[in-house]
Each structure stands twice: as C-alpha cells, then as structure tokens.
C-alpha cells in the first residue's frame, strides 16, 4: 500500500493531513482498517466539539471489534464526514480519501511535527509486527 504524500501518523494509527488553510483532515490508516476488518459503524463527534491530541473523539466498529478513535492533533471539529453514517465501509475502501472522519481547525499546528511521516510509520508498523 502506497501512502499518499503529506499524511502524518499517530502511534494509534490515525492520520492527519494538513489542508494548508489551518485545518486538517483526520482518518484511520490503511493498516488500522485492515486489522479491524469490515467496518459497519462510525460514531462521529459533533461539529464544534473540541478535540485534544491523544484523547478519544469517536468510535469505529467492525463486525467483530470496537476501537476508539484518538485525535492525532488538537483542534475544533469544523466538519464531519456524514457519508460514513450510511456508508461506514468507505473507511475500508478508501482510508485516505473518501473514508476521512473529521476536519478540524488545528489549535496547535506544531503538534503535526510530533507525528510520524509515511516512511517512519511504515518502519513503526514493521517494528510492531
């Protein structure tokens, strides 16, 4: 799986993609969706909710498992991917595009620097095997 440019990863397998306008899209990695299997429900936060880096902000459920979503960076939710309400499988099919979860207005964009880039994340996955 080729990871597109510009994505930053947390140790909990969430990604943040800087949109260049002070906001970032947040989702889960290809590895995470693959490990969970068929995703059938995503519990989204509300627009306006404040997310804090490393804290839970939602839940992803596959048929078999329940996983918390952890914010890779802090900020205010400005948009949620409401397509996931009817089509949670988008997270499996397109984890880096159609399966994004929320857009947040970053309160501390420097937090992005603490995340792993694609190469570091691939190494991290190898190490955790």
């Amino acid at each position: 799986m080729v990871i597109p440019e510009g994505f930053k990863f947390s140790r909990e397998h969430e990604w943040a993609h800087d949109q260049g306008d002070g906001t970032a899209l947040i989702g889960i990695s290809h590895y995470a969706q693959d490990a969970m299997g068929d995703i059938v429900f995503v519990e989204l936060p509300n627009v306006g909710d404040a997310l804090e880096a490393e804290l839970e902000f939602g839940v992803v459920e596959s048929v078999k498992t329940v996983s918390d979503l952890y914010a890779p960076v802090s900020g205010e939710v400005v948009e949620i991917n409401d397509e996931l309400e009817d089509s949670p499988e988008l997270v499996n099919q397109s984890p880096y595009e159609g399966g994004w979860v929320v857009r947040i207005k970053m309160s501390n964009p420097e937090e992005l620097d603490a995340l792993m880039d694609a190469e570091e994340y691939v190494d991290y996955l190898k190490e955790s095997e």
Binding site: G37, D38, V40, F41, E43, V59, E61, S62, V63, K64, V66, E85
Partner: protein, 364 residues
C-alpha cells in the same frame, strides 16, 4: 481448560492461504480470509468451507453406550436410530449447563459426541465422573479434523469428492463414506442456519481431504471461511453459543432450550431432579432476540433497560450482514420478557431495540 496451546492439523495451510489467525479456545484459528461480510454472504448464497478441527469429539463404545449418553444429557438418546444425530445439553446435578453437544448414534454400541473446544477437558471429566454402565469413553479430540461445508450449494460441491450419494443423508443424519478416498463421518448438520455438512476426517488425512476439496472447487463456488462469519451466521440463525448464552449458571429453560429437556424419558439423567424443580418454578429470566432500531451496535455485556430500570444484559451482539442492522441475544427479567421494545445502553447512550422470539434469519 488447558493453558497449553493446541494446534489444529492444518494451521500452516490456513496461514499460507492468507487467513488472519487468532487464538480461540486454546487453538490458533482462522478468523477470516477475504473479509467477514463476504464470507458470510458466500455461505448464505453459495457455500463456505470452515475448518472447525478445534471442536472436541468423545466416543462411547460398549453395550450400554446409548444408556450411558442418555444418563448424561437432557434430550432422549434412546429415540435415536443408527446414523441419527440430536442436539442436546449436558447439565450439572444443579441443572446448570456444562455444555451443548451433538450426539450421533453410529450403532447400538457406538455413540459419537461433538463438544465445544473450550469445554473439551471439562466435558470429558464430567462424562467420566457421571457415566453409568458398560461402555468405554475416549477423548478423541485429536483424532479428527472437522470441516463444515455450509450453504445452499454445499451438497453439490462436496459430492464432487464424496464416494457416497450425499442426497441420501437427511437433516441430522450421518453416514460413513469416503471423502477424497478417506473414510469419514459425514453428517448433515451445521451451525450457520444453512443446509450443509460437517465431516469428521481422521486427523492424518485432514490435509488430503482439505486439499481435494479446494482443488475440486473454485473459491467463487466455495469460499474459505473463518470463525468471524461463523459467529454472525449462527447469531442470525439464533443458535446459542456456549460461554455467551449458556454457562454453568444458566439452565436450559431460561436459555430457550426446554425443547431438548425430556424430563420423563426412560433413563434417569444428571440434573433431572433440579431441572424438574426449575421447570415447576419457571425461569426468572428469558433469552430474547434483539433487533436494534437505528444506528449503533449492541455487544456482549451491554445492559438492557426499560425506562430507568436495568432488566437484563446482552449475551451476544453484532452487526447482521443480512439485516444490515445490529442484532443480539440477551437475558431479560421474566416480568419484562414479553415487552415489544427495550433499550440497550451502548457507551452511555440508550438505543432502542425490538424484542423478538424468532430467528433473525431462516432459510427459505
């Protein structure tokens, strides 16, 4: 249960075929191959192959074989004819469920019992302790590989490598016959709500039989299936799972299994006295089906509410690929068990669920 990791005969083959493996009941088992929902739909519409070699087998051989098993289980084994199977539970003297079993009468002096993998050691010890009569009990859990071929096309596909006419085996019947040349016990039983077969193959030939079946069919025709979809399939068909709907603190009446308790059968059996009393008293809770209305997924352990009163607990909950909705089973206090609706608490939030006594899925 032994803490030592046991191995099914074909563990390496599943890994090579791309299965995701997870520890289950002390074995490393395939939980899924291509995807749980795909595998589930394959079984509902075509056919799927499950390696369930972790399941235990006990053989009872001797002139009192039928009487011995009849004294251990609640259903009536004396009614069985050669080549017939029955579902039953085995209870403790206090009526608590030790395990649920399939009992096959192979001959007047030969009974074959399929037990849950997680209960294998416990069941065998219980059977040895309470068996009365002239017969030898043997734990044959390592002697067999077991495969389940399930789905509407199961007979057609298995027939390609079977040396006997499978259409002659009726539901809950079994027969010995060659599969890819290796004599196996072929039973028309299953745990998916579909037509299909469970075959017990001598462990040393399990690989050859598995390979022959894979060779004789395409993956479009016969999907490789893991334990993940086995659970969603059994739950849609409303089949109980030991450890969830049943345990030693559960009696068969509350678990919806009164139909396998024959209190007036000819052989006295373990738990008979307690079960007679439990039946007269009536259950304090009842197992009910739950269909979520709206979003959210109910899971094992979630509490069931009526208004602000906790009235029960979910024993199994998942997403139903057929209903495209969350379904589950749960115990509800008897005074609320006839309600049409309850609420289930999921992460601090209540979601509405319809209560049902029926299976979520029945094959046409």
């Amino acid at each position: 249960m032994s803490q030592e990791l046991r191995h099914i005969p074909l563990e390496d083959r599943h890994v090579a075929l791309g299965a995701k493996m997870v520890p289950f009941a002390g074995y490393l088992m395939p939980v899924q191959y291509t995807g749980l929902i795909d595998e589930h739909q394959a079984v509902r519409t075509r056919a799927g192959l499950f390696d369930v070699s972790h399941m235990g087998e006990v053989e009872i051989v001797g002139k009192d074989a039928i009487a011995v098993i009849d004294g251990l289980v609640t259903n009536d084994a004396t009614k069985l004819v050669d080549g017939q199977a029955m579902y039953t539970v085995m209870c403790k003297p206090d009526g608590g469920i030790v395990d649920d079993l399939i009992v096959y009468r192979l001959a007047e002096d030969h009974v074959f019992v399929c037990v849950n993998a997680s209960n294998r050691d416990k069941d065998f010890a219980h059977m040895r302790q309470y068996a009365r009569g002239e017969a030898t009990l043997t734990d044959r859990g390592d002697a067999y590989g077991q495969f389940a071929i399930q789905g509407p096309d199961a007979q057609t596909l298995l027939q390609r490598i079977a040396g006997i006419d499978l259409s002659a085996i009726g539901a809950f019947r079994c027969q010995f016959g060659p599969i890819a040349g290796h004599v196996s016990l072929i039973a028309r039983t299953g745990y998916t709500g579909e037509d299909g077969f469970e075959i017990y193959v001598p462990a040393e030939h399990a690989g050859a039989v598995f390979d022959a079946l894979i060779e004789a069919t395409s993956r479009e025709e016969l999907a490789l299936c893991g334990l993940g979809c086995r659970d969603t399939l059994r739950l849609e068909a409303r089949l109980n799972l030991y450890g969830q709907e049943m345990d030693e603190q559960t009696n068969p009446f509350e678990a919806g299994l009164a139909w396998v308790v024959k209190l007036d059968k000819s052989t006295p059996f373990i738990g008979q006295q307690a079960l007679t009393e439990l039946k007269a008293a009536g259950p304090g809770r009842r197992l009910r089906g739950l269909v979520v209305e709206g979003r959210g997924i109910i899971r094992h352990g979630h509490d069931i509410f009526v208004d602000d009163q906790k009235v029960g607990v979910v024993t199994s909950g998942t997403y139903s690929p057929t209903l495209e909705q969350s379904i589950g089973l749960g115990y509800i206090d008897v005074e609320h068990a006839e309600r049409a609706k309850v609420e289930v608490e999921v992460r601090g939030r209540r979601i509405a669920a319809a209560v049902t006594k029926k299976a979520f899925y029945s094959r046409k």
